[in-house]
Structures are given as structure tokens and as C-alpha cells.
């Protein structure tokens, strides 16, 4: 099974799951986190179970997880008593950070303590990361002309080898395998660990990165 951690309202994630049906993709939603069946022993992460699309799944059956959300928010936990929603959301997020960090299968992106799908960086952080990586970065009125998506070593959408190299350098600096970078005529101007995955070439590159034997 290949799990996509996302909101049920995320149409892009739902499209990804449908597109990867033959690879056994399924949506891991907030509802799953409040369903009986999760077992996570800190000392033995691979021996536990998860709940994905309502079904209990052994962690060892998971081939990969794609994370598509920074956090579970209390507003979506409408089946939980309103007085408990904030607490349940905090606990679910804290649990997911530990679980996604520890499970043995590929997870793209691995969480950080502040976000489930990579670093929770604003423009300042990205600008500093770019400076440290030697990437030309523009913060003033960026008008993006095109997007580049890094999937491991693959890079989709770059207009030049230099853009591909810059995008990979930013991904390394951020410690992520999946990264979207926006370029303007003056260089990189925005980045996100949650790029759009509607493009067939991007999906294929990501699947190839997650499950090299699949293609």
C-alpha cells in the first residue's frame, strides 16, 4: 500500500490517489487518526499498525507515504466533541510527527517537529536557505514565470541545468526530497515542500522515486 496523508477536501490529493490506484494508493485522512487500530511502539516502529482509509494496515505492508499537509487542524474534526477538538488535533499532530519520522518505508517528505510534510518555512527561511546554498533568490515583488519540482534526483520543469541544480541545492538545504521552486526572470522567488502534483510528469517522477521497481 502507498498512503497519501492529506485532507479529504484536498482534491489534488484525491486525484493523486486515483491516479496511483494501480500502485495501491489510499488516502490517510484525519478521520483515520481517530479510528481504532493505530499501534505505535516507539522501540519497534515497524511492528505496529496504521489505519488508512478506514482499514487497519500493518506498517510492514506500507511501501511509501506521501505527506500533503502541514498539520491536522481542529476545525476538521467535526465528529469530535467541540471542547476536545483542539486537544485531539494537537495529540494527532504530535503522534504523526513521531510515527512518520520512525516508520521504515520511504516518507516524502519526512516531518519536522513543526510540520508534517517538511520544514514550516516562511519567505525569510527560504531566503536564508537560498543564500546558504548559493542560490540566487529574489524577495521583492516576485512574479513567477514557471515552477520546478524536485523529486529526489529528478527535476521536472527546469528551463536550464542551472535551475535544476539550484532547485536540488535548495531541496538539500531544506532536507526534503520533494520540493516545488518558483522561478522568476531574476531567479528563484518561492519554494514549498508541498508542490502541485497534477502534472503527469511530476507524478511519474515521484512514483519512480518512491517505488523504483514500479515502473
Amino acid at each position: 500500500m502507498l498512503a497519501v496523508l492529506a485532507s479529504k477536501l484536498d482534491s489534488s490529493a484525491r486525484g493523486l490517489v486515483a491516479g496511483w490506484a494501480s500502485a495501491g494508493a489510499a488516502l490517510l485522512s484525519a478521520a483515520d487518526l481517530t479510528t481504532e487500530g493505530w499501534v505505535f511502539h516507539v522501540a519497534d516502529p515497524s511492528g505496529g499498525t496504521a489505519v488508512i482509509d478506514g482499514q487497519r494496515v500493518a506498517v510492514q505492508e506500507l511501501r511509501a507515504v506521501v505527506t500533503r499537509r502541514p498539520a491536522v487542524v481542529e476545525e476538521e474534526l467535526v465528529w469530535i466533541d467541540p471542547a476536545d477538538r483542539a486537544y485531539v488535533a494537537a495529540e494527532a499532530n504530535a503522534f504523526l510527527v513521531a510515527w512518520l519520522d520512525a516508520i521504515p518505508c520511504p516518507v516524502v517528505n519526512r516531518p519536522t517537529p513543526t510540520s508534517l510534510d517538511g520544514p514550516a518555512w516562511g519567505q525569510l527561511h527560504w531566503a536564508v536557505a537560498a543564500a546558504r546554498a548559493g542560490v540566487r533568490w529574489t524577495m521583492d515583488e516576485p512574479s513567477a514565470t514557471h515552477d520546478v519540482v524536485v523529486c529526489g534526483e529528478a527535476c521536472v520543469g527546469a528551463h536550464s541545468p542551472a535551475e535544476a541544480a539550484d532547485s536540488r541545492a535548495l531541496a538539500r538545504e531544506a532536507g526534503v526530497e520533494l520540493l516545488g521552486v518558483q522561478f522568476s526572470e531574476r531567479g528563484a522567488c518561492a519554494a514549498t515542500p508541498r508542490p502541485g502534483l497534477e502534472d503527469a510528469e511530476v507524478r511519474a517522477a515521484l512514483l519512480d522515486h518512491l517505488l523504483p521497481a514500479q515502473r
Binding site: 499501534v39 511502539h41 513543526t114 525569510l124
Partner: protein
């Protein structure tokens, strides 16, 4: 310059502020409630900027060390707080402690995974939404405690018979259970390389709430074996922290580590034992300010 950021009235902040004043350090207290605006920008791969307050403007480029204990943002202060938090992560100044490093404490099982890398044993820990698994875990250890997974403060409690009837509720929320480890609690404050350890004796499961339960509580200064002290220093340093409060339990079989608190409320221990923790933090900040200035000017730190 040393910057203190938080809300006056917060005991640790007040104590460090007073200790710095006694030492005559160049210090500026930034009252979180008095911040109007924070403008942070990137310069030479680090953050710099200005903070406007009721008392004037603070040039963040002058800061060599900072002690940050921000409280929850007010609605009108949210943007300024976010900018200053970003600065605290990105500045070349030494920050006690950087927000990104402190965040590991927001997930206790995640942090346990880090703690074991520094040679500490940790209690066997289960997070589950499965009541049967929780019952199995309790049968295995006999005595089990439960507490929050996240940084949300909760009272550490033993799972007694009366709670077993409500165990079905765990299906609604991932819940953390740990084997109960008998032994003596030791709180270790690591301040740079300095170690200040305190033995805590109490009959309740969570000694922080002993007075609420009407239980006795005794705190005594102690000294750690050198190898345990070294592990505490290594864990603090390895987690990117300058200052931490580490919760250990000394058992007949060794030392168990429960948690590394990156923003410890150390005054609870200081007042009970007289251990000079605030003074140690103040000295650390002065040293860190000096090393930053030396790095910037390429001079020596006296």
C-alpha cells in the same frame, strides 16, 4: 547586547533579568505585550531587523545572545511574534534556545527517539487508538502511566482500574502509555557545560502537582555520576540547545530519561534548593554574547 524576550512576571525571565543586572550585563528586556511591530529581513545569510516597542526601537543586529520565553501570542501581536520567532531561528546571534530546536518537545515520542541516540534508556512507550493494545500493554507491565503525546501540559497519571472502563475512549485520540519505572526522580538543569541536579522525592505520580494533591515534596541538591552528566551535556548539545531541564529517574538498573525540556521553569527547583540556576543562565548568556561579538569582530572573548 543580551536580549530577553517574554512577559515580565514570568518567573524564569524575571530571575535571569535580575541576575544579569547584578552582573552588570548590557541587557534589553523586550516585553512581548509591548511589541508593536517587528521588521525582519535577511542580510548575509542571517536575519537582522528592528523591533518597535512602547520604549523605542531595538536593533536586532546589536544582539549577541538572547533568552527567549515567548508566551502565547495575542491577536494583535501574532505577526510581530512570528517575525521575531523567525529571527530567533535565523540570526547569527546565540539564542537560548532557538524555536526550531525547542520544537522537538512538542512530540514526546519523537523526542524519545532522539534521546536514545545519546545513550539514555527510555521507558517502553506505546501510542495507540486500540483499547485492546492498551490493555495488553498494561498486563505486560502491571503498572502503566498515561500522559499527553504533545507539548500540551497534562498530569502524568497511573492507569488504575477505574480508568480501564473508559479505555474505549482511546479510539477517539492517539493516546500515550508508558511502563511505570520505579526509582528516584532527578531533574538536571544543563546550562552550557554546567550541571545543576536536584533529587525530587514525592509519593505522587506527577510531583509538579504534589501540593494540589496535598502530598509531601522534598527537593535536594545532588551530584550526578560523571558519565551521566556527560550524557546530559551531549543530549542538550545534540538537540541544538544551550539550556535544558532533563527529567531522569535513577533505578537500580541505571538511569532512565523521560524528557528534555527546552524551556524549563527552573525557579521551582531554585527556590526549593537555593541552587543558583538563574545566575548560571546569566553567566551563559554573557559568555554567548561575548563569543558572538568576538566572532563578528574576529577578536578574542575575554
Amino acid at each position: 547586547m543580551i536580549l530577553l524576550w517574554g512577559i515580565p512576571g514570568d518567573d524564569p525571565l524575571d530571575e535571569v533579568w535580575a541576575a544579569l543586572a547584578l552582573l552588570g550585563a548590557d541587557t534589553r528586556l523586550l516585553d512581548q505585550r509591548a511589541m508593536h511591530d517587528a521588521t525582519v529581513e535577511v542580510a548575509e545569510a542571517a536575519a537582522a531587523g528592528l523591533v518597535a516597542t512602547d520604549d523605542g526601537t531595538i536593533d536586532l543586529a546589536r544582539v549577541g545572545a538572547a533568552y527567549v520565553r515567548p508566551q502565547e501570542s495575542s491577536d494583535h501581536g501574532r505577526l510581530a511574534d512570528a517575525s521575531l520567532l523567525a529571527w530567533a531561528d535565523l540570526t547569527s546571534a546565540n539564542v537560548v534556545n532557538r524555536p526550531a530546536a525547542m520544537a522537538a518537545n512538542n512530540s514526546k515520542p519523537y523526542q524519545l527517539g532522539l534521546i536514545v541516540r545519546f545513550g539514555f534508556d527510555v521507558p517502553d512507550t506505546l501510542v495507540t487508538t486500540d483499547p485492546r493494545e492498551a490493555r495488553r500493554f498494561r498486563r505486560r507491565y502491571g503498572r502503566v502511566i498515561y500522559k499527553s503525546v504533545s507539548g500540551v501540559r497534562s498530569i502524568v497519571s497511573q492507569l488504575h482500574h477505574e480508568q480501564l472502563e473508559r479505555l474505549g475512549d482511546v479510539a477517539n485520540c492517539p493516546t500515550q502509555f508508558q511502563q511505570y519505572v520505579p526509582g528516584e526522580d532527578v531533574r538536571v538543569h544543563v546550562v552550557g557545560e554546567e550541571i545543576l541536579a536536584t533529587v525530587v522525592r514525592s509519593d505522587v505520580d506527577d510531583y509538579r502537582y504534589a501540593s494540589h494533591a496535598g502530598a509531601a515534596l522534598e527537593l535536594t541538591e545532588t551530584e550526578l555520576p560523571a558519565d551521566v552528566a556527560d550524557r546530559c551535556r551531549a543530549a542538550t548539545r545534540g538537540m541544538g540547545l544551550h539550556f535544558a531541564g532533563i527529567d531522569l529517574r535513577h533505578t537500580p538498573d541505571g538511569w532512565i530519561c523521560f524528557e528534555v525540556n527546552p524551556s524549563p521553569a527552573f525557579t521551582f527547583y531554585e527556590r526549593a534548593t537555593g541552587q543558583p540556576i538563574a545566575a548560571a543562565v546569566a553567566r551563559l548568556l554573557i559568555r554567548l554574547d561575548c563569543t558572538h561579538s568576538a566572532r563578528v569582530s574576529r577578536g578574542a572573548c575575554s
